[in-house]
C-alpha cells in the first residue's frame, strides 16, 4: 500500500531529515502500544525507521513509580538509518516518573510534551520531586508543551457513556493523535487497528478512535504548536516493504525454512523473556505444518525438538541465556548424535536472571563453549530485526546440510526492535534438500547401514529416519566407532571422532566477510557481530562525514569464521571490536588470528549510541589509543 501525506493546511511546516521521538509513561499507560502504532504509521508512510522499546521486568510495577516507567523510542528518517537514535528530539512524558526517568536524555532545545494531569503533589512526591518541575525553572532549556491529556480525553469521551476510568485510559491515543498531527502521519491504519483490536468491545474501539482524533484535533485547533514537521519518505531500494520485529522475523524464517526444506517444523520451547514471542508467533501457523510444544522446562524443550529431528522433522528450540545454560547437556547430545537442530538464544542482560527485558551480547562464549567435552557447534548471528529472517534460513541450511545443532544468537534489542523490511519473494528462497538416507550404505557391501559413514565433502552423516526399512540403527551419547556408529571405547577412534566432529564444523562453507571501506585505504577496521551492526555503521558514517576514514565489517558467522577473515584483519593497522559484553568476540579473534584487536565494551543493557561510537572511532583515529 502506498500512502501519501494526509496533512492539512497548518502552521509552518518544517522539513526534517530525521526525528527521534520517545513516548514515556507508566507501565499501565500503554506506551508500547502507542509507540507501535506510531511506528506502523511511520512505516506505512515510507520513512526508514528503527525502534527501541524499553520496559521493566515486572508486568506492572506500582503506578507512578520510577521502576514502573516504560518507554518506546522511535527514530525515523528520509534516508536509511541504522539505530533507534541516541537521544530523543521529542519526549512525551505521561507522568512525573516518566519525566524524571527520561529528561536527562533530552538535549537542550528539545521538545517536551507533558501530560499535566498527573503532576499532582502526591505523584511528584512519589518520585522525589520536591517542587513541580513544570512550575520552577528546571525545564527552561526545553520547548515545553503542557497538555492536560487525561482531562481532554475524558472530555472528548464524555458522551460515550464510558466509565471515567475507561475513558481516562484512552489518553495514550490522545497523545498518539497529537504526535501524528505534529508529524503528518497517516491515520487510517491506526483507526483500523483499533477497530480490530477491540472487535469484541466496539464501545472501546470507538472511544479510542475518538481520543485519537481528539489529540489530532487538539494539535490542529489550539495554537500551542507553532510548527509541524515533515520527514519525507526514504528512498529505500525498490520493493515491497513492511515493518517487522526481530522475533517476528525469526518466526517467519522458521516457517519459511520448513518450506524450503520441505520438512515439518517442530518447536519445543519453554517461555522466557525476550524469546517467548517466537513461540507465540509460531503457534499461530499450524497451517504451515508447524507444531509448537510448550514444554515443562528448557531441557524438555530441546529434548523434544531433538526427538522430532530424529524422526525427520526440523527441530527448533527457542530461549534466552539462562535457558541455553539448561540446554547445554542436550546440545552436547545433539553434537554426538549429529542431527539437525536449530537453537535460538535471544540474549538478555546477565549473569543469572540479570536484566530480563534488556539487551546484551554476553552469550557468545557460552554458545561456543558451554558444554562438556569438545562439542563444536556452528554459531550465526543476525544484525538487524529484518535480518533475523535470513539468519534463521542460513542456520537451517547449515543444520540440515551438515547434520548439526546450530546456535543462532539474537538479542533483546533485535527481538523487540523493528525496522522496515523489504519482504522477500517467497518463490526465490533457496531450497535445502534434507537428503534422507533410503538405502544401506556399508562400504563393505554387507548391505548394512552405517549411520556414521560420512559424506566426503561435507563430512555429514546420513539422516535415516525411523520407518525406513533396512536402516534400523541405534545412536546415543557414548562415543561411536567411526563409520559403523556402534559404541567404541577405542582410544584412537575417540581421537579420530573428536577431530572429525571438529573438522566437519570447521569445514562448513560460509560466505567471505565483506568490508565496507569506502576509501579503500582506511587504517582502522571496526568489526562487530549481531545487533551492534546499526550503531557501528552509524558511528562510521558520522566519522566519515567528518572526513575520516574507517572500515567496518560485520560477522554473520561466528563459527566457523569466514575463510578470508584472517587476511582481512591483517590488512588493517588497527582493529577495534565494540561489543555489549566484556570482550568475547575479541578474545576469539585474538586467539585465532593473533591480531592485537582492541576491545571496546559497554554493558548497560542498552544498545550503543552512534555518538558514543563516533567518539570512540575518533579517539582511535586521532591516536589517543595507540
Amino acid at each position: 500500500m502506498t500512502t501519501t501525506d494526509t496533512a492539512v493546511d497548518q502552521p509552518e511546516v518544517v522539513q526534517k531529515d530525521r526525528v527521534v521521538i520517545r513516548f514515556a509513561g507508566d507501565s499501565g499507560d500503554g506506551m508500547q502500544l502507542t509507540g507501535d502504532r506510531f511506528t506502523s504509521e511511520t512505516a506505512a508512510f515510507g520513512n526508514d525507521l528503527s525502534t527501541l522499546p524499553n520496559f521493566p521486568a515486572e508486568i506492572r510495577a506500582p503506578a507512578g513509580t520510577l521502576p514502573g516507567v516504560s518507554s518506546f523510542q522511535l527514530h525515523f528518517a528520509n534516508y536509511d538509518i541504522l539505530t533507534p537514535g541516541d537521544r530523543p528530539d521529542v519526549l512525551v512524558a505521561m507522568n512525573p516518573a516518566a519525566l524524571k526517568a527520561n529528561i536527562a536524555d533530552l538535549p537542550a532545545g528539545g521538545v517536551l510534551i507533558v501530560n499535566t494531569d498527573e503532576f499532582t503533589k502526591r505523584n511528584l512526591t512519589k518520585v522525589g520531586y520536591a517542587a513541580n518541575p513544570l512550575e520552577d525553572e528546571s525545564l527552561e532549556q526545553y520547548q515545553v508543551h503542557e497538555v492536560a491529556m487525561a482531562t481532554l480525553t475524558m472530555g472528548a469521551l464524555a458522551e460515550t457513556g464510558l466509565s471515567k476510568k475507561d475513558a481516562e485510559r484512552a489518553k495514550n491515543m490522545f497523545a498518539l493523535g497529537l504526535l501524528s498531527w505534529m508529524y503528518h502521519r497517516p491515520s487510517e491504519g491506526t483507526e483500523r487497528f483499533l477497530r480490530e483490536k477491540f472487535a469484541r468491545r466496539p464501545d472501546l474501539a470507538e472511544a479510542n478512535i475518538l481520543a485519537f482524533r481528539a489529540g489530532h484535533a487538539y494539535g490542529e485547533t489550539t495554537e500551542a504548536f507553532a510548527v509541524t514537521y515533515e520527514v519525507k519518505p526514504a528512498p529505500l531500494p525498490a520493493g515491497t516493504y513492511r515493518q517487522i520485529t526481530g522475533n517476528t522475523a525469526l518466526a517467519y524464517g522458521i516457517v519459511a525454512a520448513g518450506q524450503t526444506t520441505g520438512l515439518p517444523v517442530f518447536l519445543g520451547s519453554y517461555p522466557i523473556t525476550p524469546a517467548s514471542d517466537i513461540l507465540h508467533e509460531l503457534s499461530k501457523h499450524k497451517s504451515f505444518n508447524v507444531t509448537t510444544f510448550q514444554a515443562e522446562d528448557e531441557i524438555s524443550g530441546i529434548g523434544s525438538a531433538l526427538g522430532a529431528s530424529f524422526g525427520g522433522a526440523l527441530g527448533v528450540t527457542t530461549t534466552s541465556g539462562p535457558g541455553v545454560a539448561l540446554k547445554s547437556e542436550t546440545i552436547g547430545l545433539a553434537v554426538a548424535l549429529e542431527l539437525p537442530l536449530l537453537i535460538i538464544d535471544v540474549q538478555r542482560g546477565g549473569p543469572s536472571t540479570g536484566l530480563p527485558t534488556k539487551t546484551e551480547q554476553a552469550d557468545l562464549l557460552q554458545a561456543m563453549f558451554g558444554r562438556n567435552g569438545e562439542a563444536p557447534v556452528p554459531v550465526v548471528a543476525p544484525q538487524s530485526p529484518g535480518d533475523c529472517f535470513d539468519a534463521a534460513l542460513e542456520a537451517v541450511r547449515i543444520a540440515v546440510t551438515y547434520r548439526t545443532p546450530v546456535l543462532l544468537l539474537s538479542d533483546g534489542s533485535l527481538a523487540n526492535g523493528s525496522e522496515p523490511w523489504k519482504v522477500p519473494d517467497a518463490t526465490t528462497l533457496a531450497p535445502v534438500d534434507p537428503n534422507f538416507a533410503t538405502e544401506p550404505n556399508a562400504p563393505d557391501g554387507s548391505g548394512e547401514f552405517w549411520p556414521y559413514l560420512r559424506d566426503d565433502d561435507t563430512l555429514a552423516r546420513p539422516w535415516a529416519v525411523p520407518g525406513t526399512k533396512g536402516l534400523e540403527h541405534r545412536i546415543g551419547g557414548l562415543e561411536k566407532a567411526d563409520g559403523r556408529g556402534s559404541i567404541s571405547y577405542d582410544p584412537a577412534n575417540h581421537d579420530r571422532m573428536v577431530r572429525l566432529r571438529a573438522a566437519k564444523i570447521d569445514g562448513i562453507t560460509v560466505p567471505d566477510i565483506e568490508v565496507d571501506d569506502p576509501s579503500g585505504d582506511a587504517d582502522l577496521l571496526v568489526i562487530g557481530w549481531g545487533s551492534t551492526y546499526g550503531p557501528i555503521g552509524a558511528g562510521a558514517r558520522r566519522v566519515r562525514a567528518l572526513g575520516h576514514k574507517v572500515a567496518t565489517a560485520h560477522l554473520r558467522h561466528l563459527n566457523p569464521m569466514p575463510a578470508n577473515l584472517g587476511e582481512v584483519l591483517g590488512r588493517y593497522d588497527k582493529v577495534l571490536v565494540p561489543e555489549m559484553n566484556l570482550g568475547q568476540l575479541v578474545m576469539l579473534l585474538r586467539a585465532k588470528y593473533l591480531v592485537d584487536a582492541q576491545s571496546y565494551t559497554n554493558v548497560t543493557g542498552l544498545p550503543f549510541k552512534a555518538e558514543e561510537l563516533q567518539d570512540l572511532f575518533l579517539s582511535y583515529l586521532s591516536g589517543v589509543h595507540a
Binding site: M1, G46, L236, G303, S304, A308, G311, A426
Partner: protein
C-alpha cells in the same frame, strides 16, 4: 478460535502404525550388538521377553523406536534391531515426546531405570503421564543405581546401606505407582522381570493403550542389590505376597486363592478368603482411580503385599493426537501461503 473437541480416543495404541504380515521372530528383533550386562542381571529376562513380545504386535520393525536414558537398563535399545536412541540421563521422555508427536506412524517405547526415571528424570516422567503422550514407558526398578556402582535410588528402602549411605539411607522412597497415579497417568502396570507371562500381558495391554503407559518392572541387580525381590519369587510365603489383579475379577491370591483383598475404610486390607464374605472381596476395576491408588498403598514398600498387573487403564485424549488434530485442522482449512504470511497486513511499495 476455539478448541477442537477430540473426544475420547476410540483407537488403540498402535493404530496408525504400519503393520506387516511377514512372520517376524525374536531373532529379527535382535541386533548384532553384544549384550553387556552382568551375569544374572534381571535385564536379560526382560530383554528376552520383549524380543519375543514385539513380533506379536504385527507392526513393522522399522516403525518401532526405543528411546532410553542412561543406566544399565538404558542400554536396552542397543540390543533390539529397531530404531533406537540411548540419550542422556533422565531425558528420554522428552525426546520420545517430540518423536511421538511428529510421527503417529511409530510405536515409541521408553526404557528407563529407577534413577533415570524417578531421580533426575522425575519431572519429565510426570509431565509425560499427565499429557498422556502415546508412549510406553518401561521403568526397570532395581532399587539401586547400577551403572554408577551402587548408590541408593529414590526407590531404595529406608536404612539401606550403600556406597553413598554408609550409615543407612534416610530418604523415604517414592512409590512409583502412587506417584504415577497422582500425576494423572491413564495406564499404570507392574510386573516382575522373571515373570515372563505376567510381564508380557502387561506389555500387551500397554501397547494397546492409546496414551502414556507406565510399566514398573521389578528387576534384580545381582551385583549391587542382590535378591532384592527374592521374597516375591521364592520362599514359603512368596505366593502370599504377590497379588496379581485382573480387571473385573475379585482380587484373590495365594495358593488356591486363600487370601483376598477387602475394603478397609477408604483403603484396603488383606484377609483370609474363608474369613470374609465373598461379597466383600474387592472386584478390580481398572477405571477406578481411587481403587488403584488404594491398591498401590496396600502395604508399605517392604513387599509384604505387592500388586502386579494393571492398576489403571482408562481412555483420555492423548496429547499427540490432540496436537496433530489442531495442526491437521489448520492444514485442511487454510492453504499455507508463505508470501501472504511474509507480507502481513501492512506493506508499502518503494518504487526505487
Amino acid at each position: 478460535m476455539t478448541a477442537l473437541d477430540l473426544g475420547l480416543p476410540t483407537i488403540g495404541g498402535l493404530d496408525g502404525v504400519p503393520t506387516t504380515t511377514d512372520k517376524q521372530t525374536a531373532k529379527d528383533f535382535t541386533s548384532d550388538q553384544e549384550v553387556r550386562w552382568c551375569p544374572g542381571c534381571g535385564d536379560y529376562a526382560v530383554l528376552a521377553a520383549v524380543r519375543q513380545f514385539l513380533p506379536t504386535l504385527g507392526i513393522r520393525r522399522e516403525n518401532t523406536v526405543f528411546v532410553s536414558g542412561i543406566g544399565c537398563s538404558s542400554r536396552f535399545p542397543y540390543y533390539l534391531n529397531t530404531y533406537g536412541m540411548h540419550s542422556i540421563h533422565g531425558r528420554a521422555p522428552t525426546i520420545a515426546t517430540g518423536l511421538a508427536v511428529t510421527r503417529p506412524d511409530l510405536s515409541v517405547w521408553v526404557v528407563t531405570g529407577d534413577g533415570d526415571a524417578l531421580s533426575i528424570g522425575g519431572n519429565h516422567l510426570i509431565h509425560a503421564l499427565r499429557r498422556n503422550v502415546n508412549l510406553k514407558i518401561l521403568l526397570f526398578n532395581n532399587r539401586i543405581y547400577g551403572l554408577t556402582k551402587g548408590q541408593y535410588s529414590p526407590t531404595s528402602e529406608e536404612g539401606k546401606i550403600t556406597k553413598s549411605t554408609p550409615f543407612g539411607s534416610i530418604d523415604h522412597p517414592f512409590n512409583p505407582i502412587s506417584l504415577a497415579l497422582g500425576a494423572e497417568a491413564t495406564f499404570v502396570g507392574r510386573a516382575l522381570d522373571s515373570d515372563r507371562k505376567g510381564l508380557t500381558a502387561v506389555l500387551g495391554a500397554a501397547a494397546a493403550h492409546r496414551g502414556s503407559a507406565l510399566v514398573e518392572i521389578f528387576q534384580d541387580c545381582p551385583i549391587f542389590n542382590d535378591g532384592s525381590f527374592d521374597v516375591l519369587r521364592k520362599g514359603d510365603d512368596a505366593d502370599t505376597r504377590v497379588i496379581d489383579v485382573r480387571h473385573g475379577e475379585p482380587i484373590r491370591f495365594g495358593t488356591e486363592g486363600a487370601y483376598a483383598v477387602v475394603r478397609d475404610g477408604f483403603g484396603l486390607r488383606v484377609a483370609k478368603t474363608d474369613e470374609v464374605d465373598e461379597a466383600d472381596i474387592v472386584v478390580h476395576d481398572q477405571a477406578d482411580l481411587n481403587l488403584a491408588f488404594a491398591l498401590s498403598r496396600l502395604s508399605d514398600q517392604d513387599l509384604t503385599h505387592t500388586v502386579t498387573g494393571i492398576f489403571r487403564d482408562v481412555a483420555r485424549t492423548t496429547y499427540d493426537d490432540a496436537t496433530r488434530a489442531q495442526v491437521n485442522h489448520e492444514r485442511e482449512t487454510r492453504t499455507p501461503d508463505l508470501q501472504a504470511l511474509l507480507n502481513g497486513r501492512d506493506t508499502w511499495a518503494v518504487v526505487g
